[in-house]
């Protein structure tokens, strides 16, 4: 069953709603069947046109074929009856034409033609009627063609009186028009003509060939009466929804009843009469019995017809009751309040939801004005604009409860046309929650827009169709374009051509997959420069999980990208470096260590490395120094360098490093972290240790060599002194005995012995000199001071250089090694002075304290570059000698400024 569409005007027939607040079954059925009426009317109109065309065609056949072409069968259908006259055929054509014209869209031309046809028909009919009444002949009967038919009831060519009356009535009907009650008048005239024609046809059916015996009722041909009857139906069907026909065409109970009864009423009695007549003519029964039989048959037929009608009415009543109950349940079950008001604004229907919404009892509302519920006069507005709509759209509409409080509501108004006027069915929805949600949504949207416009990033929003619907202020300022230019796909015009395909592909694919995307592309800035931006798009879903599009934010990463490229260069460089390179933040938490650094300390991944604080990278014993001394100093000075041990995280071994750390600054010069480029010193340290050990060994060896040399020289000197010198002395003694022998030897021999004695003495002196050079026994015999004094005197005597010797507070019992060292040093220094210095004066001072002795030799010679000559063998020898007694040696000399050698030796174990 088709239901009335929302907003379609509905005409309701039957009684208005009863006092229960529900519609009557008739009105209900009318509503339900309202749509079927239009189709039925359309069919009837179509039938009307077909009938008019058929009538017109028959009339033209008669006129052309019968009269102009003399084809007799077209003029007389039943032999012995009258023919259709020329004027009749013309009038039928005119009437059929008028009906066809009326069936089209109303227009002044059509109306004029209709009136012209009607006037023609009327003129012919009136003139013919005057001829009948007055006996005059105007010559119109055979104006076109002479009447050659054999049956002549009246004058030749003159139409029958019944035809004249019928055409007169039809002409009047056509002239009356279709407005209001005129239409009813027209239909009544038409019905009269129809009955006239029906009578004529039934007469033919019952076998009457001539109507001459029936007073003024003249004969009407079969096809004239058929055509007139058809044109009557055509005229009635042309307005099926108005006047008399509205009842027959309606889909309600009345229409159904009319449509069911009327054909049977028209046909069955005629048929029964024909049967009775035939039986009577055939002698089956007499006239009286036949009449009685006819009456009885009609009674039986109409009884059955009425009973069947009653049964149908009963069924329809049940259906209507069920429909009423369904409607009532539907209205009651409606989630919104349903209120129906009549044309006076009185409430005729409410449901329970309405009671809940407004706090009224149903009985309190029925019959009350709709104003009770609606403070705003929406009812009048609704009547002013009948098409259904949501009245609340565009204005804040509030309902008034019984306790005089108000609530926001939305009303759907459905005007319903009834025969009592326009009623309005209102559907009322409490939109308090929706209003609140809308307010919250508006506030949320406003907040979003404010936030989006104040956010330091470019923000965009797209709908589910991939078209962008919003760009924040920052975006528009960035691109320098208007929101209208950017909306939809406009924003893609700013994407760099090289990035366009990739950008759009990522955007589209992510949209299709409803997944988040992050992509980098170049976007044209307002100044025309393309800037790299990072676009982060996230799909949006409604609370119901429906995809609502995307929202994204973009940041300008051009600088960051450049920095990243620079960083990559740095990382590439650093990763190829064999040195330890690392960076940490201000909390000394590493964030980068190069591959070489990782390998060096036995770490495998950067993530793990970054979890180890910088302090913990050092060897445990060095951590206090790093934490408490080195880092504070580096923080103060901005850099620092130290040789320190790292630790190997797997083996725990120490790794010697030249740890060079410096601060990393940002563009403003502020320290943002620390970096180190450190060199692995382990191998160098090992080499240094090896060298040092070797040096120590060399020194020890050199010391032993010196001692051995000293010992050997001492031994040789002692041998020379104790053995050879003594023997020479004995030889000299013995020689002296010979020289002094008694009696004296000859003078010549004595002289020879004296010479020999002198040579022996010289030999002894030479040996003693050699012994003295090898080892000055005076050092052991008389001590350092005497030995040095002797050395100075001997030097001064040998070189003629003025020698000044000073000594103060020399401790007693100097260690032999210390005394020998100082003596040998003085000996070497004086030797150098004699050999190189070209000095005129030399000072040798030895001074001491109980725990220390100091020797200083100073000359006024030509001097030399002490730094460049520090590797000379003499100086090295002196240094080594001093180092053997753990003393300090220094030499100060400049070209032209003489030379000063200072030796200081601590005397361990002595108290001050």
């Amino acid at each position: 069953m088709e239901r009335p569409r929302k907003g379609s005007p509905v005409r309701v027939t039957g009684k208005p709603a009863n006092r229960t607040g529900l519609p009557t079954p008739d009105s209900l059925r009318s509503v339900e069947e309202s749509l079927g009426e239009t189709k039925r009317c359309a069919k009837l109109r179509l039938v009307s046109r077909i009938l008019a065309l058929a009538v017109g065609a028959v009339a033209l056949l008669v006129l052309i074929g019968g009269w102009f072409l003399d084809f007799a069968p077209l003029l007389i259908v039943i032999s012995g009856t009258v023919s259709t006259k020329v004027n009749t055929a013309l009038c039928l054509v005119a009437v059929a034409s008028a009906v066809l014209l009326e069936s089209g869209r109303p227009s002044p031309v059509r109306s004029g033609l209709v009136r012209l046809c009607a006037t023609f028909v009327l003129l012919v009919a009136v003139l013919t009627l005057i001829e009948y009444i007055s006996g005059w002949t105007f010559g119109i009967d055979e104006l076109l063609v002479a009447d050659r038919t054999p049956v002549l009831v009246t004058a030749p060519g003159r139409m029958a009186l019944a035809t004249v009356i019928s055409l007169l009535l039809l002409g009047c009907a056509l002239l009356v028009g279709n407005r209001g009650r005129r239409l009813l008048c027209k239909q009544l005239l038409t019905v009269a003509v129809a009955f006239l024609c029906l009578q004529n046809l039934v007469s033919y059916l019952y076998g009457i060939e001539h109507f001459t015996g029936i007073g003024f009722y003249p004969a009407m041909s079969v096809h004239t009466s058929s055509s007139l009857l058809a044109i009557c139906f055509a005229m009635l069907f042309s307005r099926p929804d108005c006047g008399l026909m509205s009842l027959a065409s309606n889909e309600n109970l009345a229409g159904s009843t009319v449509r069911r009864l009327l054909p049977a009423t028209l046909l069955v009695p005629v048929f029964l009469g024909w049967l009775t007549l035939q039986a009577q003519l055939n002698g089956v029964h007499g006239a009286v019995f036949g009449l009685a039989l006819f009456a009885t048959a009609n009674v039986a037929f109409f009884s059955c017809l009425i009973w069947n009608g009653g049964r149908q009415l009963n069924l329809m009543e049940v259906e209507k009751h069920q429909a009423q109950e369904s409607f009532r349940l539907a209205v009651e079950a409606a989630p919104s309040g349903m209120v129906m008001a009549d044309h006076d604004g009185k409430i005729v229907l409410v449901n329970s939801r309405t009671e809940q919404l407004f706090g009224y009892d149903r009985k309190e509302l029925l019959g009350q004005s709709i104003e009770v519920l609606l403070p705003v006069d929406v009812r009048k507005e609704s009547f002013a604009q009948p098409p259904a709509r949501s009245t609340g759209i565009g204005l804040d509409l509030y309902g008034r409860r019984k306790d005089d409080t108000h609530f926001p509501m939305e009303i759907d108004l459905n005007p319903i046309e009834t025969e009592h006027g326009t009623w309005v069915l209102s559907s009322i929805l409490d939109i308090t929650e929706r209003k609140r949600a809308e307010a919250t949504l508006r506030e949320s949207e406003e907040r979003f827009r404010n936030m989006a416009d104040t956010a330091p990033v470019l923000i965009w929003v797209a709908g589910p169709d991939k078209l962008c619907t919003f760009f924040n202020k920052v975006w528009l300022e960035f691109t320098g374009r208007s929101i209208e230019q950017e909306l939809g796909e406009g924003w893609t015009q700013g994407v760099h051509p090289d990035d366009f395909d990739r950008c759009i592909a990522t955007y589209s694919a992510s949209f299709d997959a409803r997944r988040r995307f992050r992509m980098e592309y170049r976007l044209r800035r307002a100044d025309g420069e393309y800037r790299w931006i990072l676009d982060d798009g996230t799909p949006r879903f409604t609370s119901g999980g429906i995809f609502a599009g995307y929202m994204g934010s973009c940041v300008d990463i051009t600088e960051k990208r450049c920095a990243e490229e620079e960083r990559q260069k740095f990382v590439s460089l650093a990763d190829r470096s064999l040195e330890f390179i690392g960076m940490c933040d201000l909390d000394f938490k590493p964030f980068y260590v190069n591959s070489a650094g990782m390998r060096l300390v036995g770490l495998e991944n950067l993530e793990g490395a970054c979890r180890i604080k910088v302090q913990d990278w050092f060897f445990p014993e060095d951590q206090p120094f790093i934490t408490n001394e080195f880092f504070p100093r580096a923080l103060r000075e901005g850099h620092g360098e130290v040789e320190i041990r790292f630790r190997h995280f797997k083996t725990g071994e120490a790794i010697w490093m030249l740890y060079n750390v410096f601060n990393v600054c940002d563009s403003s010069g502020a320290t943002v972290g620390w970096a180190t480029v450190s060199v692995n010193l382990t191998e160098r340290k090992r080499a240094e240790i090896a060298i040092e050990e070797s040096r120590q060994e060399l020194r020890a060896l050199a010391g032993r060599l010196l001692l051995a040399q000293e010992e050997e020289r001492k031994r040789i000197a002692r041998e020379l002194h104790d053995d050879l010198s003594q023997k020479i002395a004995l030889l000299a003694f013995d020689t002296s005995n010979l020289v002094l022998a008694s009696p004296p030897l000859p003078a010549e021999m004595t002289h020879s012995l004296c010479n020999l004695q002198a040579r022996i003495a010289a030999l002894g002196a030479d040996v003693r000199q050699i012994s003295h050079r090898l080892h000055p026994s005076i050092l052991e015999d008389l001590g350092l001071v005497a030995a040095l004094r002797e050395l100075c005197e001997e030097f001064s005597a040998r070189t003629t250089i003025h020698m000044v010797f000073e000594q103060t507070e020399i401790p007693e019992n100097l260690p032999v090694g210390v005394a020998a060292c100082l003596y040998r040093l003085a000996q070497e220094a004086l030797h150098n002075v004699q050999k190189h210095a070209r000095a005129s004066q030399v000072g040798l001072a030895v001074s001491g304290s109980p725990d220390k002795i100091r020797l200083c030799i100073q000359d006024d010679g030509i001097g030399f570059n002490a730094r460049s000559s520090s590797r000379s063998l003499g100086i090295i020898s002196m240094k080594e000698r001093v180092r053997l007694v753990e003393g300090e040696f220094s030499i100060r000399s400049q070209p032209g400024q003489g030379t000063t050698i200072t030796v200081s030796v601590s005397l361990p174990g002595r108290q001050k």
Binding site: A729, A732, A786, R789
Partner: protein, 122 residues
């Protein structure tokens, strides 16, 4: 007339030749071959004069003389040595030596030097 009493100290073979040379004029009260023995012998024999070498084991002649002079201030010394160095000579004189004679000229000079020392006032 009592002959001067002489104590000889030397660690070399020349000591025997010296004794033979000196015994003609002097009474050689003893001969020692190291400085420490010299000190002990000096206190034991208290000679008139001591003829000593400088370079001797255990204690050199000058040091021994200094020790002896510390307790026997009037003791006379003559150093007979191979050392012709001025330092030795000065050191010997500083401890009050009566003469400083090189061994090469001992035969000619020693006896006279002893006589001169004995004759000289203490």
């Amino acid at each position: 007339m009592k002959r001067p009493r002489v104590l000889l100290a030397d660690d070399q073979p020349m000591l025997a030749k010296l004794r033979k040379l000196l015994e003609a004029d002097f009474e050689v009260v003893g001969m020692v071959s190291d400085g420490r023995s010299l000190v002990e012998a000096a206190f034991q024999w208290k000679p008139d004069i001591i003829v000593t070498d400088i370079s001797m084991p255990k204690l050199n002649g000058i040091t021994a003389a200094r020790k002896i002079r510390h307790l026997l201030p009037r003791m006379k010394f003559i150093f007979l040595t191979m050392h012709s160095d001025h330092g030795y000579r000065m050191e010997a004189l500083s401890v009050g030596a009566s003469a400083y004679i090189l061994k090469f000229s001992a035969r000619e000079e020693l006896s006279q030097a002893i006589h001169d020392a004995i004759a000289a006032p203490a």
